[in-house]
């Protein structure tokens, strides 16, 4: 992959609430290379959305960054003022939100909503901005764009609206595109169209994508690399093949195992619920739900163990003294594919 364009190190974010400080992000580090798609996977409350909001400087008022850095073009985004962030937001780093129904302004023609970032960030005059808006509207596949540019959001369907949101995000050719569950609110057939569109556009305008989702199926189709988040931490990361065919963390196993496949007769649910981040557990946060948990899991947080140059997992099972365990059948099936792939590559 190309050069590193974003480097997040040891990010820690707390939310102040009446009940106390919720430790939403607990020491998260990751990076993004030029032209790649990084998927961040996790359940609600795992901190995936908070992580990306911090990249955009869009954290809620009661959030506090306790530590860490977000390096972009040699500068720490966390040290920027709101004014400086406004320069970057929408121009260099753009975002697509989950719900296309609420992320557009209902009182504004969509043409103006697409042209606005150009006029603000690139000082393009109104006429030129509208011409470019029309161009990108055609690019994202809105039929009859010349007429529809004067329509309001309510005149479009959900899928079309998400295309418009994508058009707004891409109109300035951002270096980084953050997509926060961009297809969760859409039907599967529309979802497939939007995902294809995003892949196409990524090549055309050479942007890097951070893709946030809880749908492992979507991840398998979109991502180059995957980071799995749980309880405010990244617990495993690697290339898409490494995560899907050679996963090492029991939580990743659980996620892959709880999805129905063609042959499954019984779904293996992960028992219990994620821990309360008001008072995060001392040891491995997944220990309470982990059938393979050992004594040490309750006492000490596992560090990242190296699986390969690109693949790391935070679980004590990878420690050299850990007992040998047999993963679930579904994971064994996947590991077999992995071994075949490795053999074929040699």
């Amino acid at each position: 992959m190309g050069e590193r364009i974003l480097d997040v190190k040891n990010l820690k974010i707390n939310f102040h609430t009446y009940a106390g400080d919720v430790k939403a992000i607990r020491d998260v580090s990751f990076h993004l290379d030029k032209g790649e798609t990084l998927a961040i996977v996790g359940e609600s409350g795992s901190g995936k959305s908070v992580t990306t909001k911090s990249l955009m400087g869009l954290l809620a008022n009661n959030a506090e960054v306790v530590g860490g850095s977000i390096m972009y073009r040699g500068e720490d985004l966390l040290k920027k003022t709101e004014k400086e962030m406004q320069e970057i937001r929408g121009k260099d780093i753009a975002m697509i939100f989950q719900d296309p129904m609420t992320s557009l302004d209902p009182t504004m023609k969509i043409g103006r909503q697409i042209a606005e970032p150009l006029m603000i960030h690139k000082n393009v005059d109104k006429k030129k901005a509208w011409a470019q808006a029309l161009e990108i509207l055609k690019l994202v596949g809105i039929a009859n764009a010349e007429e529809r540019i004067n329509d309001y959001p309510h005149q479009f369907s959900g899928g079309q609206r998400q295309r418009i949101v994508i058009a707004i995000a891409l109109v300035c050719y951002p270096e980084i595109l953050i997509a926060d569950e961009p297809t969760t609110a859409l039907d599967v057939t529309i979802q497939a169209q939007i995902l294809n569109l995003m892949k196409e556009l990524q090549q055309k305008i050479e942007t890097s994508i951070i893709f946030i989702t809880h749908d492992l199926g979507v991840v398998a189709g979109m991502a180059d690399r995957v980071a799995v988040m749980y309880a405010g931490q990244i617990i495993e990361y690697g290339t898409v093949d490494e995560i899907f065919y050679n996963p090492k963390h029991p939580y990743t196993w659980g996620l892959l195992n709880s999805m129905p496949t063609l042959s499954s007769t019984k779904l293996e649910a992960i028992p219990g619920t994620p821990p309360d981040l008001l008072d995060p557990p001392k040891g491995d946060p997944f220990a309470a739900r982990n059938p393979y948990a050992m004594k040490i899991d309750a006492e000490k947080q596992p560090p990242f163990f190296k699986v390969s140059d690109t693949h790391y997992a935070a679980t004590w099972l990878l420690h050299k003294d850990a007992p040998k365990i047999t993963p679930p059948d579904e994971i064994l099936r996947r590991q077999k594919i992995w071994q075949e792939m490795q053999a074929a590559a040699k």
Binding site: E43, Q191, V218, A220, M259, T261, A269
Partner: protein, 318 residues
């Protein structure tokens, strides 16, 4: 096929139009016919706007059907005149809703939510009995019995959906309509709720109508699947057949769009695009569900039957 099995629910030519007589009349459900046998799970899939939720709501009589019949346990649902019959129907058929945040009254305790049906049907005589029944139900759905005195906001989404299930079970129904019961939940919690529904079905011999847009989950839980599009039922058949040997183009395109958690598969994915013109009505050649292979029906015209038979034969050759 469960030939000997009893039909618990028969939906006959159900039509549900909204805004009848106006220019913008919507045919939400248009001539839908299917049966559900006792003890089975019938999965209804389709995209948003396909009419699957409306079908479910018409069956439980939240809407008055425009036309057609719904026969539950041998009785026409729209002809229940006596209060007893009506109460019995309400007890036999229950619903689990999609949004566990909107479907529980925030000002009622969990005990009152679950026991509301018990009170209405007079199933418990004393306070102690009521409490005991609620605690039993909470344990059935995997919640702690001490939770009875709490309010809905104190629970997570998965727990709320369990409360919704306990409420449906309270009156000991025979038939449960589950309208997208898991789509608002996280992946790991979805599996928990689906497994719970399956276990309950085994224990209590329940019959389900499972409405969802997630085809892989529907295939997993259902015995038979019906595929809806534009208010019409396009294909009905055993779950495995519909999923692995889809006959209608629309079903095939729907299945080809489902993301699979397998990168190798995703790289080679070919999405099938759907051309809706096949659904076009032709004068004098009525389209209806016709049996192509045993138990596997497709909505088509008389002259299309051959084509579908060939298609089905091709699957057998592979």
């Amino acid at each position: 096929m469960p030939e000997q099995k009893k039909k618990l629910l028969e939906v006959k030519h159900l039509k549900q139009y909204f805004g009848v007589g106006k220019a913008d009349m919507v045919k939400a459900v248009d001539d839908v016919t299917f049966d559900i046998y006792e003890g089975e799970t019938f999965g209804l899939v389709g995209e948003s706007g396909s009419g699957k939720t409306t079908t479910g709501r018409s069956i439980i009589h939240l809407y008055n059907p425009t036309d057609g019949q719904i026969i539950f346990d041998g009785k026409d649902v729209s002809k229940l005149n006596s209060k007893e019959d009506h109460l019995k129907f309400c007890r036999d058929m229950q619903m689990i809703f999609q949004d566990p945040y909107a479907s529980l009254n925030p000002r009622m305790t969990v005990e009152d939510i679950i026991a509301e049906g018990l009170d209405i049907h007079g199933l418990v005589k004393t306070k102690e009995e009521r409490r005991a029944k609620v605690e039993e139900l909470l344990e059935t759905v995997g919640l702690n019995k001490d939770h009875a005195s709490r309010y809905p906001h104190e629970f997570s989404g998965g727990q709320r959906q369990r409360i919704g299930i306990a409420r449906a079970l309270a009156v000991e129904p025979r038939f449960i309509i589950a309208d997208e019961p898991i789509s608002a939940l996280d992946v790991s919690i979805q599996a928990q709720v689906v497994n719970l529904l399956k276990d309950l079905q085994e224990q209590k011999g329940l019959t389900y109508l499972f409405i969802a847009h997630d085809l892989s989950m529907v295939k997993y839980i259902s015995d038979r699947i019906g595929v809806m599009h534009f208010g019409r039922l396009l294909e009905v058949g055993p779950a495995d057949d519909v999923y692995t040997k889809p006959l209608h183009d629309y079903t095939a395109s729907l299945i080809s769009a489902v993301p699979v958690p397998d990168p190798e598969f995703e790289r080679n994915r070919k999405q099938i695009l759907y051309d809706a013109s096949i659904e076009q009505d032709v004068e004098g050649k009525p389209a209806k569900l016709r049996e192509i292979t045993p138990g596997h029906f497709v909505r088509c015209r008389e002259d299309q039957v051959e084509m579908y038979k060939e298609r089905a034969a091709k699957y057998e050759q592979k």
